[in-house]
């Protein structure tokens, strides 16, 4: 069999009378994909495909088709919203409260929202969490979990916000959160234990800057 590697004047489909120079070929005559105009002139092929999609005979009128297109766009936006809300997202971070771990600005991280959606109690001490701020419900904050329900924690070991001898037992359904940079962080030392319902997700990975790529996990060591 012959494969023709250039634009083929010989039509393999459609009605055309055959003659000696351009014989009539069977419909499944093998033509190299390189001879396909979509491969030879990709932009031209794209334009053709678009034109075919827009001007193809349809049972709907043009306004209806425009409406369906808009609805599809809205549907896409909804899909993106649901993905960000339930599965995870990539977001930037700013603020000094987690400083040795996370920079002040210009860092991009992966937020996992699926695991806390599936099981709100799936939280370990030492993990980095994204929460809604108890002080301002429109703000997201990033803090480290220090205590789980039932734990006894020291309110402030540094003694800045409370005497360093004060200890509390964390009530049911609450966690104790703290920023790594105690001097520049408003956290459970100020507003006490926060409900688990405020947890929005976990910080999994730092993507940017590439030199500081890191997977975050629980960094707690237990002394028995």
């Amino acid at each position: 069999m012959i494969a023709i590697p250039f634009p083929n004047p010989i039509k393999t489909s459609g009605l055309r009378p055959g003659n000696r120079r351009f014989p009539r070929l069977p419909h499944n005559f093998p033509v190299s994909f390189m001879a396909n105009p979509r491969f030879l002139y990709p932009l031209h092929g794209l334009g053709q495909m678009l034109r075919a999609r827009i001007f193809k005979p349809s049972k709907y009128s043009l306004p209806t088709r425009v409406g369906i297109g808009c609805l599809k766009l809205v549907n896409l936006v909804c899909f993106a919203h649901l993905f960000v809300e339930y599965v995870g997202t990539i977001s930037t971070m700013e603020g000094p409260s987690m400083l040795p771990t996370l920079g002040n600005e210009g860092e991009i991280v992966v937020v996992d929202r699926l695991s806390t959606r599936l099981d709100p109690y799936n939280i370990a001490r030492g993990e980095l969490l994204i929460l809604l701020s108890p002080l301002n419900p429109k703000r997201y904050i990033c803090k480290r979990v220090v205590g789980l329900p039932g734990d006894v924690v020291c309110v402030d070991p540094t003694g800045q916000q409370a005497p360093s001898t004060e200890h509390v037992r964390i009530p049911k359904g609450h966690i104790w959160i703290m920023g790594d940079n105690a001097d520049a962080s408003r956290d459970s030392r100020i507003y006490g234990p926060v409900p688990i319902g405020l947890v929005q997700g976990k910080l999994r990975t730092r993507l940017w800057p590439p030199s500081k790529f890191q997977m975050f996990g629980s960094n707690m060591t237990y002394i028995d």
Binding site: A52, V74, C78, H81, P120, L132, K172, P195, I196
Partner: protein
């Protein structure tokens, strides 16, 4: 040129695929904007699920007003994630907002509480059947999920829940219920000292 489709035009898979394709729009419209929910539990009696009602109440809840504009204030009925167990949702009424001072009811250890920044005080209308802020203290505003807009079932009470007014005339159970509702609202409001609003006088 044959136009190939990425899924078959006719076949057993076609309808499910179409439903899957349009599902995001439906889910967002019905659960992230307005949603209809059944109200269960006695904590908001007799405003919702009153004892004399034969069926449970169904209501439309607005999520966008709460998430976007934080448009929920004293007296609004809201749903929130339980601070004691995030898997459960509660329906309560906002009694006080940040800066207000509330006189608490028995289970709470303190006589009076000043609500801190970003927190609200929520209570059920039936204090005997309700686990509310009198048990777990003020809750962060961020736990609030949606706000009740209007009831759609049972048919006798369809519509918005309005602030009870002093019934001026009438007799029988309707009058007594209206009077009791007014007294309850009055008792609730009288326990709250609203935060002092800072009004900057205009210079003349």
């Amino acid at each position: 040129m044959q136009n190939k489709r990425w899924f078959p035009r006719a076949g057993a898979l076609r309808t499910p695929l179409r439903i899957l394709y349009w599902a995001p729009l439906g889910i967002v419209l019905t659960t992230h904007w307005y949603n209809v929910r059944v109200i269960s539990g006695p904590s908001m009696q007799p405003t919702l699920n009153p004892e004399w009602s034969l069926s449970k109440d169904y209501a439309v809840f607005d999520k966008v007003a709460v998430l976007d504009k934080q448009d929920c204030h004293r007296g609004d009925i809201i749903t929130l994630k339980s601070p004691l167990d995030p898997k459960y949702k509660l329906i309560k009424r906002i009694v006080a907002e940040e800066g207000d001072t509330v006189k608490t009811l028995p289970p709470y250890p303190l006589k009076e509480v000043k609500i801190p920044q970003g927190y609200v005080w929520v209570e059920g209308d039936d204090p005997f059947n309700s686990d509310d802020s009198n048990m777990f203290g003020p809750v962060p505003r961020a736990l609030i999920e949606s706000k009740l807009v209007f009831l759609i079932w049972p048919p006798s009470r369809v519509g918005k829940l309005e602030e009870p007014k002093l019934p001026l005339s009438g007799t029988g159970p309707t009058f007594r219920r209206a009077m009791a509702a007014f007294e309850r609202a009055h008792a609730r409001q009288s326990r709250v000292t609203p935060a002092a609003k800072i009004v900057i006088p205009e210079r003349v």
